[in-house]
């Protein structure tokens, strides 16, 4: 392994199957970009977050005292940037672009989430980078993709969800109530998840297929369409899907939220195989053989009645009691929790799904969600704090690009590159 490859591998946040893979992230802060590169970093890739220079020198981060709340924007950043490195470079400056191009020569992946045309203006598009590194894999995540009549349009999560068809099947079901978007930004998240699958495929194809690089063109709208999966053949044949807040995807009834005696909501998912058990748990074994409900077709035909009877029964106990009873009977069901409760689930700690940082600035005081890709070969070893703004600029210039100390200082003086002179900085110009 040469010195440069060694330096790249050593800059990874954690050990993992993607060790030695260098990813350059040139993204805004939305999950469509930063969540994707965070997954790659969790898998052991070395991720350099290329960030814009601050307009003026910014103060070092002053972590809040124990028990005091962390600023919302810093918390946001913590949730999407662990295990990464940060380098501040002015890509609009010729010299900054030259530094970026030197990094692209040794990189495997360049991941962007800008509107079409922006990377070309910055000299960070596939055509430019391929000329420097024929094996480069570029991945662009955009609202609508790089082709087609709407490719130039901006997409926000809510508008993508409207156009993608998902909102037309989501609602509380009250007459006239507006369509609902998912609380989490699944437009951007869907883009990021498919981008990672595409990047992993391209990395493998390059290695095993002995081909060069590729450009992945991931559209958030496309990903929303793909997720309709099994509903697509009937829908494109004329079936109109409407929101079915109390019916399952394959027609199960009852399936949805019901209010409990403690005022909390509880969802049940009673497919045919669980109907009898559910009747017993609900305290109404007589429903099992009731000709109005005995089969799924009958339950569908008498849906309102089933739901009103179930609703009445659910009021007789608290959500926690129901949780215990339904789990005991092995019926899929769950209390509608808020995030702080959700992470108290008995599995969360066992599965390292709520973790602090193993180092420095934030340590165990700031918790983030764990990595859901559990591999037997890589037991959990902790996650590293998200990088300070420009924290790794100097080390990257020196160890990966082999630039002498004076040259690095000159780049900083000329405002081509930047790093804080003391402390860590979490004041970023572009954070949401």
């Amino acid at each position: 392994m040469n010195a440069e490859a060694k330096a790249i591998a050593e800059l990874a946040g954690v050990r993992g199957p993607l060790a030695g893979t260098l990813v350059l992230e040139i993204c805004g802060e939305e999950p469509s970009g930063s969540l994707g590169t965070q997954i790659l970093a969790d898998l052991g890739a070395t991720v350099f977050k290329i960030e814009r220079l601050p307009e003026k020198d910014v103060p070092a981060f002053d972590p809040p005292a124990e028990g005091k709340p962390l600023r919302r924007d810093v918390a946001f950043f913590c949730g999407l940037n662990r295990n990464k490195r940060s380098i501040c470079l002015d890509l609009k400056h010729d010299k900054g672009r030259a530094v970026f191009h030197s990094l692209a020569r040794v990189a495997d992946v360049v991941y962007d989430n800008y509107r079409p045309g922006v990377t070309a203006r910055l000299g960070a598009d596939y055509a430019t980078l391929k000329a420097l590194n024929p094996n480069i894999i570029c991945c662009s995540v955009t609202g609508f993709g790089h082709t087609g009549p709407w490719s130039h349009l901006p997409g926000y999560d809510a508008t993508i969800l409207a156009l993608g068809g998902g909102m037309s099947i989501t609602s509380s079901g009250r007459p006239g109530s507006p369509p609902v978007r998912w609380g989490n930004p699944i437009g951007g998240i869907g883009g990021a998840l498919y981008a990672v699958v595409g990047i992993l495929a391209a990395l493998r194809w390059r290695r095993v297929g002995r081909r060069g690089g590729a450009w992945l063109d991931i559209s958030m709208l496309d990903t929303q369409l793909a997720m309709h999966a099994y509903r697509v053949p009937p829908a494109l044949d004329g079936k109109v899907y409407l929101p079915e807040p109390r019916r399952g995807g394959i027609g199960s009834v009852p399936y949805g939220p019901f209010k409990c005696g403690d005022g909390r909501w509880f969802v049940v998912g009673v497919t045919s195989q669980f109907w009898e058990a559910a009747c017993r748990v609900l305290g109404h074994p007589e429903w099992i053989d009731d000709p109005r409900f005995a089969t799924q077709e009958q339950r569908q035909a008498n849906e309102d009645l089933v739901n009103s009877l179930v609703a009445e029964a659910m009021l007789t106990r608290s959500s926690d009691e129901w949780q215990e009873l339904f789990v005991g009977a092995q019926i899929p069901a769950g209390k509608v929790t808020v995030i702080s409760e959700a992470f108290r689930h008995p599995h969360v700690a066992l599965r390292d799904m709520l973790v602090g940082f193993k180092d420095g600035t934030f340590g165990d005081r700031v918790k983030v969600a764990g990595d859901p890709i559990k591999m037997s070969g890589y037991p959990f070893e902790g996650v590293e704090s998200p990088p300070g703004f420009g924290e790794h600029t100097a080390v990257i210039l020196k160890s990966v690009l082999n630039l002498p100390e004076e040259e690095c200082a000159r780049l900083r003086a000329e405002r081509v590159a930047w790093w804080p002179l003391q402390g860590k900085v979490y004041e970023r110009p572009s954070v949401v």
């Binding site: 068809g165 509380s172 109530s177 978007r181 998240i189 194809w205 369409l225 969802v267 092995q330 995030i339």
Partner: protein
Amino acid sequence: MQEHEPPIAAEAQRPLTGIRVIDISTYIAGPFGSDILGYLGAEVIRVDPPPAAPPMPLRRKGEPVSEAEGRIWALQRNKRSICLDLKKNDGRTVFYDLVRKTDIVFDNLRPGVLERLRIDYETLRTINPRIICCSVTGFGSHGPWAKVAAYDIAVQALSGAMAFTGNGDGIPCRWGVPVGDITASLYAVMGVFAALEDRDRTGSGQRLDISMLDCQLALHSFRVPQTFASGIEFSAPSPRRGGAGAVPYGPFACGDGAWVVIGVASNFWRPFCKAIGAPVLADDERFRSLESRQKNQAELDALLEAHFLRDSAGSWEERLMASGVPVGKVRTIREAFEQPQAVARQMSVTFVAPGGQEVRTAASPIRFAGENSFPHIPPSSRGADTERVLAELLRYSPERLRDLRAAGAIDAGAA
């Protein structure tokens, strides 16, 4: 660490050409993932218990595609299908023979079932140390809830997401798309790629343990530190406010009864007002800045509600798109596939069903720019490939196949 040469597959036509997957998954959380693996070039062999199904029925003109058919065409494409009884010794022996020639075993059975059938990772690795086993379950392989069955709706509720999804009328909503199933599939596919990468370096396989609940929790990404370190509880949905606080935002009813969704971040406020024919709003003191729009949101929303009723959703969409302001009419699934951008991106794939009628499914959103998409393979009926797979791949003789059939260990359906 021993260095291994990657397998020779010069001219691999797809990223997973040369990789074989045994798929013992059902419902959505598994098959959605193995469909992606098949599309990317893996040879996916779906294993179902007997009996085999009759060949795909003829589709008659005008006969609607049923939900059951929808699941077959959308989730069982890009796969071959064999029927094997894993509860019989003979069936299990066939499975072990397959495992010797397989890279990945992909399942979404409940924890404990694999062990009972003696096809768990610890057993299979003694047969093939390079095997990668990927299990998708509701709650993961161990812990007090490991054996509890989960449906999409249960993990959507338990993860916390339903608490902040809704109209604001107090009733929690689940996302209509089964995001609990689907994101687990996507993370499983990532894990499979990572394990293949690792195997080429180390020579050994490993086990992937993907939990639907874990995946939902992971999607909370930025909300987790905001909850646990900033003290924000995400409990009330904000249907009319963007994630970063943008106002106006969300769905507005239009004159034709359809809904249009807008997302007006500050940089779009002025073009938005102009595009909807209300330029005076832009400089109205009550709404000029984001802070003032947030402060006077009720007033602004009411004003816009009345305004949007003056025209159809399609017309508002056209005007806002022409001005480059984020907008979208709430489309049904069919409309979503038939809008110009989806058509230009070729987001549907057409199969010809027996009898000549067409069935359309979603295309893969994984696009290599400037390169052709890969063709999709139509689904086989259940068990249709049993004899061919066993004869070609395992070199079973016709006599052996006959014996297995007689013992009920395999079923290939009607000859």
